[in-house]
């Protein structure tokens, strides 16, 4: 019986931890779009990007339209320096990576002319090997 309960505990522990992680991480990320006092007005693109990363990268393509300022916010836990995000141009050239700036949890992009981009997300393996990563994108004109 003890063994059975132990197995159950071991099996359920990651489920409980993971689901808890993701929900609270989404809230942390949301605060980067609104600012702590709610004063920053970035309009959400209406999507939540989540990935359970395990020593791998998640990537997706999007378009940043000219004349807008975008904010990318990313988090993988209460310590906000776990996530590395990299923005690449259509030729795969790196335009920005927060790894150069202490894995800053959010960054703004002033876009003069429209550009299709690829955004890569990964955990900083020196700090966290596996876990839920959340990214949000907001914009203002």
């Amino acid at each position: 019986m003890k063994t059975f309960v132990r197995i159950l505990l071991v099996t359920l522990l990651p489920f409980a931890a993971s689901s808890q992680d993701c929900e609270s991480i989404v809230r942390t990320c949301e605060s980067y779009l609104t600012g702590k006092s709610g004063s920053v007005k970035f309009v959400s693109d209406g999507q939540v990007y989540t990935a359970f990363l395990d020593r791998e990268k998640a990537e997706f393509k999007t378009t940043f339209f000219g004349g807008s300022t975008y904010r990318i916010a990313a988090s993988a836990g209460t310590d906000d320096e776990y996530v590395i995000f990299t923005v690449k141009d259509p030729n795969g050239k790196i335009l920005f990576t927060n790894s150069k700036y202490k894995n800053a949890p959010y960054w703004d992009f002033k876009v003069q002319h429209t550009i299709p981009v690829t955004i890569e997300t990964e955990l900083d393996l020196d700090k966290k090997v596996t876990g839920c990563a959340v990214m949000l994108i907001g914009f203002k004109q």
């Binding site: 003890k2 159950l8 409980a16 959400s44 259509p90 914009f139």
Partner: protein, 294 residues
């Protein structure tokens, strides 16, 4: 004694797992599915990520160009009663959500409240009351004089709905809402382009090439019971036009202002789209929209 400890820990962990997924102000119907830890975990392991730019951005461009409000472009609220399948409800939620954003931007308070009510109706039918709850409604009504706040509030609600649907393994519904939003924003852009001959709008249409590719990909990925087949086929036909648009990208090194955590992207992008091609795209967008709002 030890056994009691294990049982207590087990129940406690289960409780933590279940409680951790619920939003602060979600309704019970939303919580039941969102609280399923297994659903959440599976979703997070689900590899592909797709991104569709917000349809509100096209409406913002239209307003920025000082083009007048055109209520005739919107999907009539009366049509909402015709949407009885999850497919038509989801895609038209995206359409009505974009209409609502457009009305809010132009400070069309009465129209905005009309579209808010139809959005509320469809979200109820889709089980998304948690995202468009009483808190959302009262925030929206309180801020109905402030177009910026209204747009932020509506977009936040759509983000909440997106998160809920992804966690509840309803990505096909989520992708249809995005598709509806994109189709409606393209409809606005095509109408305004025809009316005004404005090159900025024509360029914005051409700049949707990558988004259209992603749209087709996402609809193929989450094609529950082949319900998206007709739409995918129409969008693939539309893609044949988009592939003819000439897009010339030139890299220019970006500038970063570390203090303000801001990077300015200075690239160039030249979009060349002929009048004939624009007319063909407009015609196809119109046909696609008509087929989903009927």
């Amino acid at each position: 004694m030890k056994l009691n400890f294990y049982y207590t820990t087990f129940i406690a962990l289960l409780f933590i797992g279940l409680n951790s997924c619920g939003g602060n102000d979600s309704k019970e119907s939303l919580d039941k599915e969102a609280l399923d830890p297994a659903a959440s975990l599976n979703t997070n392991f689900d590899g592909k990520i797709f991104s569709i730019p917000s349809p509100v951005q096209t409406a913002m461009l239209i307003k920025e160009l000082k083009l007048p409000f055109d209520g005739n472009m919107l999907n009539a609220v009366e049509n909402a009663k015709n949407y009885s399948t999850e497919f038509s409800q989801a895609i038209n939620l995206g359409i009505y959500g974009t209409d609502l954003g457009y009305c809010a931007l132009y400070e069309q308070k009465n129209n905005a409240l009309k579209y808010l009510s139809v959005v509320e109706k469809i979200t109820g039918e889709l089980g998304l009351e948690g995202a468009f709850d009483k808190n959302f409604m009262s925030r929206f009504e309180k801020n109905s004089e402030d177009q910026d706040s209204m747009v932020v509030i509506v977009s936040d609600a759509f983000r909440k709905a997106d998160y809920f649907l992804k966690n509840a393994k309803r990505k096909s519904t989520s992708s249809l809402i995005l598709a509806g939003g994109w189709i409606e924003s393209m409809h606005f852009a095509c109408k305004m382009s025809a009316q005004s001959n404005n090159t900025k709008i024509a360029e914005r249409i051409g700049e949707q090439q990558q988004t259209l590719n992603t749209m087709i990909e996402i609809l193929k990925e989450y094609n529950k019971s082949k319900q998206n087949d007709a739409l995918i086929s129409s969008l693939t036909d539309l893609k044949s036009d988009f592939d003819k648009i000439a897009i010339e990208y030139t890299y220019v090194a970006p500038k970063t202002d570390v203090k303000n955590k801001t990077t300015t992207l200075q690239n160039e992008l030249k979009v060349t789209i002929s009048k004939e091609l624009l007319a063909s795209i407009s015609e196809k967008i119109n046909a696609i929209r008509e087929s989903v709002i009927k």
